[in-house]
């Protein structure tokens, strides 16, 4: 992991102190709420339905166990509403919809699709204390919200994936530093998200980002970036367009400076729904590309100050040297361990399923990456209680050199597990409740916090996720259905990435009631899902109590029509959208009556 220098540490502490001054002035009345708002947002503090929400930055998803324990401490000590607030919030939630609302939970963290961690109940007057606590382990909420360059995300297998050409972490770290408190780019037209990968498969959904970066070698063997611009979700889903086929690695900051500077000047500021760079790229096309190129040339001829020196790349890269497995295994030992694992898996199908779904190949053949599943009955997708955060930290210390990754799919990943420790890890992860072998299966769904917490949401996500999880509990059935991306967003802001789900569910609000639009055939750009694209809407919105039946109907079409070993998304592509759409609409009961 990146080792924070004295400068880095002091910088985060200074940021926490700056925030405390702003909060103090706001609470004293000398900094108006509207003027405090962008300042707190750029430190990760939202004001939500019932309480503030804090989004903690996890740069490219890497956390150490000390940081995880501080997140647990925040969940334990600060993520607590007063009994009165909790009672009021619960009473309000109980009035939504026809079924009783799920019980609101407290004292937990939530992993997001952009590898960050959120809390939902911290009182604002405690927020500066929390920032100090975070700073004590080099954590912060810098630019996790607001119209600025957000946390830079990557593949959860960055640095360890077998299909990785170039480790993206040193570049992501250099870009993190460049984008942090950039004076010119703090008040862009809209939020600005960058994702980066150096693997052949795109596991970072880079084409869904404002800027997507793919590290590649050119024909001469030099390292550089393929640059995509103008991807994004929201009201108008757009896939990023290639703006540069190959940019030498050391020019990336100079080039991004040009991309963002032109956007800052040209992006729309009259309409929040048309302010993202995707709209500018759609509207101006080549003219925007030409201006970026012209500005890049001006940057180069006026000093190219942000050309990255090899020495700086080397300094940062030294933090990411892969640890050696100790003691190194002989090939005979390795073969024996693998044979033992296979034998144990044959004896115990649950272990076998876990090895198949939750354990991933590693660059180092003596190591594996292991996913801890946070998708299970009784807790919202990606939620982790204080106890669970501490338990995950313990597993990281015991099995993964103290490191974890937050995944795009809202789980945790242990990146440095020795193969001879897999059975012990399985036993311990199982005891902690993290060993459900459902990675990439239907119940490993993505969901935002939705209308239970979020002020923007039109509808709740968590009860829908819970209903689907409950209906599809049987592991035999989940394995039979195979790998399916199910994504749920509570509103068109698309935090739950519904556009890129094979099955997408979007909460909408009509006449104060919750409704859900269903899309099919979306892709995040991974090998399983195919080229990145948004799903297609199957028809008018469904009532809340119809959603699970619609999912089941769609899956029944798959089961009827699939060919041997054909995945859901492949069957959907081959059979065509209409058969699935017809089945989805035939599952209406409430809305069919309303329409009649």
């Amino acid at each position: 992991m990146y080792q924070y220098t004295e400068f880095d540490q002091q910088f985060i502490q200074a940021r926490a102190a700056q925030y405390r001054d702003q909060l103090t002035r706001n609470l004293a009345g000398s900094l108006a709420d509207d003027e405090f708002r962008p300042l707190r947002l750029q430190n990760g503090w939202y004001i939500q339905r019932y309480a503030p929400m804090l989004r903690v930055a996890v740069p490219y998803g890497e956390l150490n166990s000390a940081q995880l324990r501080v997140l647990a401490q925040i969940a334990q000590d600060y993520d607590t509403p007063s009994p009165e607030l909790l009672a009021t919030a619960q009473a309000t939630q109980d009035k939504i919809g026809h079924a009783p609302a799920p019980k609101l939970t407290t004292n937990y963290g939530h992993f997001t699709t952009r590898q960050n961690v959120q809390f939902n109940w911290i009182p604002l007057d405690k927020s500066a204390d929390v920032m100090d606590l975070l700073a004590s382990v080099n954590l912060h909420g810098i630019q996790t919200s607001g119209n600025c360059i957000r946390n830079i995300t990557s593949d959860e297998l960055v640095g360890i994936a077998v299909d990785e050409e170039i480790d993206a972490r040193p570049y992501a770290e250099v870009l993190r530093q460049w984008s942090t408190l950039h004076p010119e780019f703090a008040y862009l037209p809209r939020k600005f998200k960058i994702a980066i990968t150096g693997a052949r498969e795109d596991r970072a959904a880079i084409l869904w980002h404002d800027i997507g970066l793919r590290l590649i070698h050119n024909d001469a063997g030099d390292v550089g970036f393929r640059v995509f611009v103008g991807g994004g979700m929201g009201r108008t889903p757009v896939i990023g367009t290639q703006i540069r086929e190959f940019l030498p690695w050391n020019q990336i900051i100079n080039y991004l400076e040009a991309v963002v500077r032109v956007y800052n000047g040209w992006g729309r500021r009259d309409n929040i729904y048309k302010a993202r760079i995707k709209i500018l790229v759609k509207a101006e096309g080549q003219r925007y590309f030409d201006e970026v190129e012209a500005e890049y040339q001006r940057i180069l001829t006026s000093g190219a100050h942000h050309t990255i020196p090899q020495a700086e790349l080397d300094r940062v890269s030294a933090c990411f040297v892969a640890p050696q497995a100790k003691p190194a295994l002989s090939s005979a030992d390795q073969a024996k361990i693998e044979a033992d694992l296979q034998a144990a898996a044959a004896q115990n199908p649950e272990l076998g399923r876990w090895l198949q779904q939750n354990v991933h190949a590693h660059k180092n053949p003596q190591l594996r990456a292991v996913s801890l599943s946070f998708k299970r009955l009784g807790l919202a997708p990606g939620d982790a209680t204080a106890e669970q955060l501490n338990a995950a930290a313990q597993l990281a210390d015991t099995y993964s050199l103290g490191e974890v990754r937050v995944s795009h799919d809202q789980n945790l990943l242990l990146p440095w597990v020795s193969i001879d420790q897999l059975q012990n890890l399985w036993r311990d992860a199982r005891a902690a409740g993290f060993a459900r072998p459902n990675l990439r299966l239907l119940s490993d769904m993505i969901a935002c916090p939705g209308g239970d917490y979020c002020a923007l949401a039109n509808a709740r996500s968590i009860p829908v996720a819970a209903a689907i999880t409950e209906r599809f509990q049987d592991l035999d059935e989940l394995f039979d259905l195979g790998e399916i991306d199910l994504h749920i967003s509570g509103c068109i802001n698309s935090c739950g990435h519904h556009h890129s789900g094979h099955i997408g569910i979007l909460g909408v609000d009509k006449d104060g009631q919750e409704w859900y639009q269903v899309t099919l055939g979306g892709s995040d750009g991974s090998a399983l899902s195919g080229a990145a694209k948004p799903g297609k809407v199957v028809g008018p919105s469904f009532a809340a109590d119809e959603v699970v039946d619609v999912i089941e109907a769609v899956l029944d079409v798959y089961k009827d029509q699939r060919q041997p070993s054909e995945t859901f998304i492949d069957a959907l592509q081959r059979v065509g959208f209409d058969a699935f759409k017809t089945a989805a609409n035939a599952a209406r009961h409430t809305t069919a009556r309303a329409a009649a």
Partner: protein, 125 residues
């Protein structure tokens, strides 16, 4: 060079001041004889003038670049780093506190209009 924080807009050299709108192209505007350029923040969250100031400094403009409009003390540091040399505060702002905020950080990662070199170049030097 520290930002000159002004609480009211009273000065003598307006005759040589150029008022550059937010949608004007800072790359091409004529600067001959101009001693001051006025840039506007229609709202404090509208950041176009930061880029305009940066571009003007890069072109070598050495006169005064002045911030007008919705100028609040919490954005003064960004203004200074982007190339502004003076700022006329919106009414009701605490100028003394604003001056203090300018010195809050010991340094920054990226280069800016005042210090063009980023931290990684300084560390290497």
């Amino acid at each position: 060079m520290s930002l000159n924080i002004l609480t009211s807009h009273t000065d003598a050299d307006s005759a040589h001041a150029l008022n550059l709108p937010n949608d004007a192209d800072a790359h091409s505007v004529a600067l001959d004889g101009v001693t001051r350029i006025d840039l506007t923040f229609p709202k404090f969250t509208d950041g176009r003038a930061f880029s305009q100031a940066f571009v003007l400094r890069r072109r070598g403009f050495a006169g005064d670049i002045r911030a007008h409009g919705d100028v609040l003390i919490d954005q003064l540091l960004q203004m200074q780093r982007s190339g502004f040399s003076s700022a006329v505060l919106r009414e009701g702002q605490d100028a003394a506190h604003g001056a203090k905020l300018l010195t809050h950080y010991n340094g920054f990662y990226q280069g800016d209009a005042v210090n063009a070199e980023p931290l990684f170049k300084k560390a290497a030097a």
